[in-house]
């Protein structure tokens, strides 16, 4: 009888290994960061010379920088020399052998989310069994994309196989000089995702990190690059709704999107990293730089994010609206409870004529969570008839949480129009009583009310994702009232 191991071996021999089965590494670099570590990392990833040079340049620049502290977040000092900059993915040897070895709390969450068993194994990093089933899925998936001419691979592969595209676009939206964490990422990024959609192609399916889950485990410094050529369309789903626990504290990813003429990129995130315990011990610091450029006329970028995890979320998915008539959108739900802190929002840079942007931000705070919206809308001199509409709503649950709004508006063109609306509300005792009188439990009632509050954002998510996001929100807020 053939075992799943045989099949995986077949897959590896038939050339799929580079695509979807991460090479098994058994070592982890010692903590610390210097040029030698970066050289070792680059060598380990068999990178061409140009990438090593980029990394070293970024590292040198990073050394001249100071860690920023303007966010409304508090955390102890990070010792960058105490972090290991290359940690091998969970390999067959140290990965759990079956779901029996996985943290039961994690499995309970999976079950509540209704994630199928096979997927659960994959998410939990269970070695062979999960790969067995998913490889075939991933393969058909890859075939179909190939037919359409879409490139969807790890950034490491892209660095080796598509050097022209990578050299042209990597760092073009978020240069290493952009900020402290972007510089660090440019020096030490471990892996990430690369997407290229050729001219006029509508990507035949939603691209999801589900199929790249191996990479997701590899580390805290991911790098994502998405390029949509003229008239193309792609929808990308980042993360999964399962809590990816991670020993590492700092998660400093960089995401760059490039939309050329008439292209559209939809980027959706459901982030549920480990938030730490109720007292704020542990958890991920999610310090991420995400930025897209609407380079061509009539191009369109939308960011949709549902942030329920991480001890600290500090990020501003932004749009540079360079092309005339281009559109930028940002839809966000951020939940903080326990001791979680979120300082998140967006920046919309209106450069081209008649550019339009929409910002809808929904912050939910419970327990002692702190939630801040921080956003910049800038209408440059050339942004004739530019328009922005911003709506920031905060929902408070309990009386120990906090919500803040920091909107920055800069307008240099008299024909531009910027609107900002903000509301703060509490879950009303009368709403809860009404729902309970209609037979709902307190938790069902809270879920219903919160889902109503977030509706405009959930409407922007692809269908299956929206369903999971709703459930995730319910789980995140369990026991938040009362």
């Amino acid at each position: 009888m053939r075992t799943s191991n045989d099949i995986v071996e077949d897959m590896q021999q038939s050339g799929y290994s580079e695509g979807f089965i991460t090479e098994i590494e058994s070592d982890t670099f010692p903590p610390g960061l210097d040029e030698a570590i970066i050289r070792k990392l680059s060598a380990k990833k068999q990178e061409p010379e140009y990438m090593l040079e980029r990394r070293l340049k970024a590292y040198q620049y990073w050394q001249t920088m100071q860690e920023p502290h303007w966010g409304k977040v508090e955390y102890p000092e990070i010792d960058y020399q105490a972090i290991s900059y290359f940690s091998a993915p969970k390999s067959g040897e140290d990965a759990p052998k079956s779901l029996d070895e996985v943290d039961p709390a994690l499995l309970e969450t999976y079950n509540k989310l209704g994630i199928p068993l096979v997927e659960q194994q994959l998410l939990a990093g269970v070695a062979v069994d999960a790969v067995f089933d998913s490889v075939s899925v991933a393969t058909t998936f890859r075939e179909e994309l190939k037919k359409a001419g879409v490139i969807f691979c790890s950034i490491s592969e892209a660095i080796r196989d598509y050097p022209e595209l990578v050299q042209k676009y990597l760092g073009s939206v978020v240069p290493h000089t952009d900020n402290f964490f972007a510089a660090l990422n440019a020096a030490v990024f471990s892996d990430g995702t690369f997407v290229y959609v050729p001219e006029g192609v509508r990507c035949p399916m939603e691209l999801s990190t589900y199929f790249r889950i191996n990479e997701a485990n590899t580390g805290q410094f991911e790098r994502t690059l998405i390029i949509a050529e003229k008239g193309s369309y792609v929808s990308y789903l980042e993360g999964c709704t399962a809590p990816m626990r991670d020993e590492n504290q700092l998660h400093a990813a960089v995401v760059e999107l490039i939309a050329l003429e008439d292209a559209q990129i939809k980027y959706s995130t459901v982030q549920n990293w480990y938030p730490g315990d109720a007292e704020g011990k542990g958890g991920i610091y999610n310090f991420v730089t995400k930025r897209g450029i609407c380079k061509g006329d009539r191009s369109h970028i939308s960011w949709t994010q549902v942030e329920t995890g991480s001890a600290i979320t500090w990020k501003y998915p932004s749009c540079i609206l360079k092309g005339d008539d281009s559109i930028g959108e940002f839809y966000s739900v951020a939940v903080t409870r326990g001791r979680q802190q979120a300082d998140t929002g967006t920046k919309m840079y209106h450069i081209g004529k008649n550019t339009r942007s929409t910002i809808v931000s929904k912050g939910i705070s419970a327990d002692r969570g702190v939630n801040s919206y921080r956003g910049l809308v800038r209408m440059n001199k050339g942004a004739e008839t530019g328009r922005n509409h911003t709506q920031c709503d905060s929902l408070l649950i309990g009386d120990q949480c906090a919500a803040h709004t920091f909107p920055y508006i800069e307008v240099a063109n008299p024909t531009a129009r910027v609107e900002h609306e903000a509301t703060t509300s509490k879950i009303d005792a009368n709403q809860l009583f009404y729902c309970k009188q209609r037979g709902l439990s307190e938790e069902e009632a809270v879920a219903l009310i919160v889902n109503g509050f977030c509706k405009e954002v959930f409407n922007e998510l692809p269908m299956e994702f929206a369903v999971e996001a709703r459930k995730l929100l319910e789980i995140s807020l369990e026991g938040a009232v009362g």
């Binding site: 009368n430 009583f433 309970k436």
Partner: protein, 256 residues
């Protein structure tokens, strides 16, 4: 053995809100199929009584007891009371922004069904049920497409309450000033709905300030509340007499 068909039995009920006593020894007996009207001036405790029956947490019961279907009602949570057939039509139905009314009704109905050990209704089965219910109440489906009570007119909010009552088929329906703020047409439609739901197994408590609701819904008993107690009980003619003489007729008599 005594045949007991008592659905609700309230004995010497005392309740307060923010340490202020409102109900001061209320007694009431409701049997299956009966309609009881509770009238009284503002501040007499009518709405407090309705909310205490439904289990509102702002009200503290300090003495007395309530038996419902043989159980101690005060031991049950708000939703457990709902599951056991207690329905409160709110005086001020609450708005829930972003929640589609149809989704809300289905979620609530399925929560009730699950609590009773019945299967949840599928979306198509629910659609069928709601269409039938709307037709019976002579209502259209416009209210279903909007967020729960958001932007509803006074009449629409009350109609939505009656729709829920028809959907949930309660054993004991408490209508808290359902007639307040309604024009004649809306009042007529609400009354029609209530009359359709009259059933030998279903009891109702109509809390109302005015006699006019009782023109279209004929009660079995009329009670007058004053200062947290029921001070007079009669039939429909008592309501007419009140209309004629005003509440002072009774409250003055009480004070004397």
């Amino acid at each position: 053995m005594k045949q007991t068909s008592s659905l609700l039995s309230v004995n010497h009920l005392q309740a307060s809100v923010d340490n202020k006593p409102i109900l001061k020894g209320l007694n009431l007996e409701v049997k299956a199929g009966e309609i009881h009207a509770i009238m009284g001036p503002n501040g007499s405790g009518k709405s407090t009584f309705a909310n205490v029956l439904a289990g509102h947490e702002d009200y503290t019961v300090s003495a007395g007891n309530i038996h419902y279907l043989g159980e101690n009602l005060l031991d049950l949570s708000v939703e457990e009371r709902a599951h056991k057939g207690i329905f409160l039509a709110f005086q001020y139905p609450v708005e829930i922004p972003g929640v589609n009314n149809m989704v809300f009704l289905r979620t609530a109905l399925n929560a009730m069904r699950t609590a009773k050990g019945e299967d949840e209704l599928s979306a198509p089965a629910f659609m069928k049920l709601i269409r039938k219910t709307l037709a019976e109440l002579e209502m259209d489906d416009r209210l279903l497409k909007r967020a729960v009570n958001v932007g509803f007119s006074g009449g629409e909010k009350k109609r939505n309450e009656i729709l829920q009552m028809a959907l949930f088929q309660p054993r004991l329906a408490i209508l808290d000033e359902t007639d307040s703020g309604l024009d004649i047409d809306a009042l007529r439609q609400v009354a029609k709905g209530v009359n359709k739901l009259r059933d030998p197994q279903r009891s109702m408590i109509l809390v109302t300030h005015y006699q006019r609701l009782l023109d279209s819904i004929e009660p079995d008993y009329v009670h007058v509340m004053a200062d947290g107690r029921i001070v007079r009980t009669g039939d429909k003619s008592l309501a007419l007499e009140l209309e004629d003489k005003g509440y002072s007729w009774i409250t003055d008599e009480e004070a004397a």
